[in-house]
Amino acid sequence: MVNKLIKEDTKMFLTGNEVLAYAANSAEAEFMYGYPITPQNEIMHTWCKLLPKTGAGFLQTEDEISAGFSTIGGILAGKRAFTATAGPGNVIMQDAQSMAEMMRIPFVCAVMQRGGPSTATVIYAQQETRLTCYGGNGEGFRIVYSTAGHQDLYDYMIKAFNTAWKYKFPTYVLADGYQGKMREPVMLYDPASRGITMVPTEKALLADGEIGVDRKSAHMRNTYNMEEELMEVLDSYQVDYDKMAEDVAEWEEYKADDAEILVIAHGIVARSARTAIDELREKGIKAGLYRPITIRPLAVKPLREAVSRAKHLLFTESANGQLAQMVLEKIYGLTTPYSTLFKMGVGVTGDDIVQKVENIVKEGV
């Protein structure tokens, strides 16, 4: 058992990376594996700085391939283990992440997006949205929470561990370099004080007791001989995934009820959208926000309802429409027209959105 550092409500002024380390500790995480890459380094720095007090463990591996597989190793041994990465690190960790999908391993990973493709910038982007949801050779049996600030980082990092261990799908906290590096006030708390109980971990390998007597053997396959054998397994995963999606999918609406122009955005961009919507409403323009919190799986029903109510949609992202592609597939058949405001690897400000919406209105929607 690790020592939890946050025993009562504690307001702190932290960077997002620091928040994630504290959140993992509050979630009773026992081990972090990682390899340095900006802008997520301070997650492991903070985690390590806290080790003398928490009694948890840390291993810096030789690269992200190893960090991903080591995390799987820790989880198989029954530890509440996690990792964090960004950018090209997220790319080369996909092999391990696919394995976690295939073997239904409760893999937890924080992704702090930076600019892409390749090395690009170390600062910020939303360009790992598709990669985090659908990377690897597989079908994207993953759960991805997209956060919009420090309170979200704390809340959803704790939640990610429970989601992963309950449903046994790899679970991600998808944030970005702004959230990782920026400082703002946040309320840390003991999850128990919010009625949150951590799902117990279990050993997949080297479990106690004698095989065949006390327990069944663990049979976790990553390799299949026959095509149909594979499909049978994946079909059953799909059934589990669809069932899980109803429980897990989260979204947030802001002034969306009567919105004529509905902004669809995720993560930190959704936060800029809120600023823009307040300004637009003051100017008499009925704008609202639909923000998927789980961007995989998407909450399809409320999404389609919100889109149906609106007269015009605006997709905005710090990427070239990675979320928009996923959303458009889910709203197929609806005829609400849409515009886009995509800034690849660059922050979207409230002003950007205000101007874009004003132009849409001017052009007569």
Binding site: T121, V122, M182, R271, S272, T275, T349
Partner: protein, 187 residues
């Protein structure tokens, strides 16, 4: 809602991020809503380093903004990079003893100060950034001098205790920075 948006830009190594940290820490300790994003490339030294700071009375929405209320430019490259954050309501401060040109943007006011020269000739090159912190404090009027001093204690207290004259030097730099703006504002 009262919200002050600050863009602080200079060369890597000038201490831009250090003073941004002190500034927002002071805001946090004074029970303001604050949000700070550091922004720089992969260089250890050189390159433009920008700090986006917001201090507000209510919860802050957008983390990044298009236009700042105060834009501080501490090098030629910072001028080039940051004119985009200026509009007619902005106050621009630049260092005449570092920059070889003057910002040409349309704005409320452009204030030229020679903080680098003053630091080198009258105080110490090491407190250049603290002079800038004083400039910011006077130009924004959202925090008290005592808030900044408290935050400096949190950031530099150990160094000050080891060498008390450093505290005096930093305070002097802070006051110098404040007076630079106060003088200009009076003209």
């Amino acid at each position: 809602m009262a919200r002050t948006k600050i863009v602080l830009a200079g060369e890597g190594g000038q201490g831009v991020q250090s003073i941004a940290k002190i500034l927002v820490e002071a805001g946090y300790e004074a029970n303001k809503e604050v949000l700070y994003i550091p922004n720089f490339g992969v260089e250890q030294r050189g390159g433009v380093s920008i700090a986006f700071c917001q201090i507000a009375d209510e919860r802050i929405g957008e983390p990044r903004y298009s236009k700042g209320d105060i834009i501080i430019m501490l090098s030629d490259r910072a001028i080039d990079r940051c004119e985009t954050y200026v509009d007619k309501n902005s106050t621009v401060v630049y260092d005449t003893s570092v920059c070889t040109k003057k910002p040409t943007c349309e704005c409320k006011e452009i204030i030229g100060i020679d903080a680098n020269k003053i630091a080198n000739e009258q105080l110490s090159a090491r407190v250049f950034n603290i002079i800038i912190l004083g400039v910011l404090l006077e130009a924004t009027h959202v925090l008290e001098l005592s808030d900044i001093k408290n935050a400096m204690e949190l950031a530099l207290g150990k160094k000050f205790d080891a060498k008390p004259e450093l505290r005096e030097l930093n305070y002097k730099a802070l006051e110098m920075g404040m007076s630079l703006v106060a003088q200009k504002a009076g003209v």
